[in-house]
């Protein structure tokens, strides 16, 4: 590890993985509730499990992004982190605030939580993904500002590379667009309009800058390809991201009471959104093909290539599937949306965080460059278990979604929602099965940190 202060990333990575486990457990709870409606009712109603599942996802990805930044920025800037103490302090604040929020969801009725956190003073709760009490949201902003300050000061005092600049722009955008979560007009149409400024402009905007920067960093390290070439690709990819993705927000403005013209703007621009994801696949494989060194961390390279492929499938292909207004008219808000949401989040953001952890953790833990052969073998098994089961989760939900669209929306004698759900139950059972395999993959992943940790480091022969 070139700089001592990079070690602070370890806290963030460990917390991220722990919360990931929680996320998956609640995913499995919901998966069961889909087929056994009264499972854990009324102790843990579906909406509570869902909040825990999605909020844990977002929080652990944020831990992952922060950890990745604390590792990446000092190395790029070629200087110690501005303040490792601040990074550690913010870590505990964020972890405790996050844990209290999750406990709040689980222990008291949501309306009580809204009351005791004085939601009426500045009502922001009760909207999908933004369920956190207002006070938690303020906490997130404070942590984000402290974090940006720390990272920004590090870049300022050191070398300013394209990779850290793009990362910093992405992280700043993340913080700025989160501010729209505080805007909650009584007019539902405007509420929904600006809600997407957080959700869409995150995952199809600024987060892709973060994704691009981390991927570029790892590719530079594991392939040894000239930085100039990688940086040029990075600029092209993020240019295409924002050129298509900003107006692409319109694919959420077809049916919520916003003007007609969004059908055109949204369909045309979002149809181009797969381009940057496609470029990412070409670029990742080209860089690995043209590599100038053999890096002993084969697992990290696998994660990097996997990220590009799965992000393209989940966001690019599954996103395109339902993004044109005439298609979306029938599929809007069905299991097809859930299918896409799962594979896109996993492929793009879960996998990029795991890529970074895979590259950085062995070094933080005292290896020269990579884990032992055995440890990497376990890690690669977990890669395949989790990735293949996510493909199956997506396929089963897609089947459920297509049938749901057909039975409830398209035939001449449409069925009501609950009847439709009971007719497609088999696919929910299959999804739950695939989810169980995902959990096994996650356990194997965690085991890979302990297996073979006394063995000799893998080297290139």
């Amino acid at each position: 590890m070139p700089y001592k202060s990079q070690a602070v990333a370890k806290y963030y990575f460990v917390a991220a993985i722990a919360l990931f486990v929680g996320q998956i457990l609640f995913g499995l709870v919901m998966g069961l509730q889909y087929v056994m409606g009264d499972f854990l009712f009324p102790e843990i109603p579906f909406n509570v499990a869902r909040m825990v599942h999605t909020n844990l996802l977002i929080v652990w990805l944020l831990f992952g992004f922060m950890g990745a930044s604390y590792y990446l920025v000092p190395e790029e800037a070629e200087t110690e982190l501005y303040s490792p103490m601040l990074a550690l302090g913010l870590f505990w604040i964020f972890l405790i605030a996050g844990a209290l929020t999750i406990l709040g969801y689980l222990l008291v009725p949501y309306a009580t939580l809204a009351e005791i956190t004085m939601n009426d003073l500045l009502p922001t709760m009760g909207r999908e993904f933004l369920e956190q009490p207002t006070i938690t949201k303020i906490g997130i902003v404070i942590v984000a500002l402290g974090f940006l300050f720390n990272i920004g000061m590090t870049v300022l005092k050191g070398k300013k590379t394209v990779v850290s600049l793009v990362l910093l722009m992405g992280l700043t955008g993340l913080a700025v667009f989160f501010l729209f979560s505080f805007y909650n007009p009584t007019n539902l149409v405007l509420d929904k309009y600006f809600w997407w400024w957080v959700v869409h402009l995150w995952v199809e905007g600024v987060w892709e800058l973060i994704l691009g920067a981390i991927l570029a960093f790892v590719l530079i390290k594991v392939t040894g390809v000239d930085r100039e070439i990688i940086e040029k690709w990075l600029y092209i990819i993020i240019a295409m991201t924002l050129i298509t993705g900003i107006i692409g927000t319109g694919h959420h403005y077809y049916w919520i009471g916003t003007p007609d013209y969004w059908s055109w703007w949204g369909s045309i621009f979002s149809a181009l959104e797969p381009i940057p994801f496609f470029l990412m696949v070409v670029y990742a494989f080209t860089m690995v093909y043209k590599r100038r060194r053999e890096h002993p961390n084969k697992a990290a390279t696998l994660w990097a290539l996997g990220t590009a492929v799965m992000a393209f499938l989940g966001a690019g292909v599954w996103g395109f599937l339902h993004t044109l207004a005439p298609v979306n008219y029938y599929t809007h808000g069905t299991q097809l949306t859930a299918a896409h949401g799962h594979m896109a989040f996993y492929g793009a953001y879960v996998m990029i965080v795991l890529t970074m952890i895979s590259y950085a953790m062995p070094i933080i833990r005292g290896r020269a460059a990579a884990n032992s052969e055995r440890s990497q073998l376990w890690e690669m098994w977990s890669f395949w278990l989790m990735t293949v089961s996510m493909v199956f989760i997506t396929l089963f939900l897609t089947a459920a979604g297509v049938l749901q669209t057909w039975l409830q929306r398209y035939t001449d004698a449409p069925l009501d929602f609950m009847t439709t759900q009971s007719k497609i139950e088999i696919f929910y059972w299959l999804r739950e099965g695939a989810g169980a395999v995902f959990l096994i993959g996650l356990i194997v992943y965690i085991a890979s940190f302990f297996v073979g940790s006394k063995d000799e480091e893998r080297t290139v022969s």
């Binding site: 889909y34 009264d38 369920e131 900003i246 809007h332 808000g333 929602f417």
Partner: protein
């Protein structure tokens, strides 16, 4: 990529393109905010409807239901439930009020929220107002 296309050119496309399309987005947003009163009938947002939105949020109804197709996919779409229930706020209120505390065995269940009469009426009025938004004819049929 050849040297004809340089890193500086890629960088300029990034900054220029992003800025241009962000400004265009702001322009479209301005127009949307200006003109959507024709579709959302905001003049009908009474105090009761506003309270209804608060009840909706304070009880996290979106955690199981979709509203205009956004939310969770576990329970029926509610953007048009007012129409599905025969243009009746009373039917909506009765449904919410009569949910059994312990759920319905074997069936996906909705919690009993113990709402006051005022809250019940408000959330029903909110769903009525929502059903009157011009959504380009979505959902495709009354089933949601």
């Amino acid at each position: 990529m050849s040297e004809v296309f340089t890193k500086i050119m890629a960088r300029n496309i990034f900054y220029g393109g992003s800025l241009f399309f962000f400004l265009l987005f702001l322009g479209l947003t301005f127009d949307t905010v200006q003109s959507s009163h024709k579709r959302d009938h905001r003049e009908n947002i009474t105090e009761k409807v506003a309270l209804g939105k608060k009840v909706w949020e304070d009880n996290n109804c979106i955690g199981c239901h979709t509203l205009l197709g956004e939310g969770a996919y576990f329970a029926p779409e509610l953007g048009n439930v007012y129409k599905r229930f025969g243009n009746s706020t009373a039917a909506i209120m009765a449904f919410i009020k009569t949910r059994p505390k312990e759920g319905i065995p074997g069936r996906r269940s909705m919690p009993q929220f113990n709402l006051s009469d005022e809250e019940l009426e408000a959330v029903a009025e909110f769903l009525k107002w929502t059903s009157e938004i011009d959504t380009n004819n979505w959902p495709p049929n009354i089933k949601g």
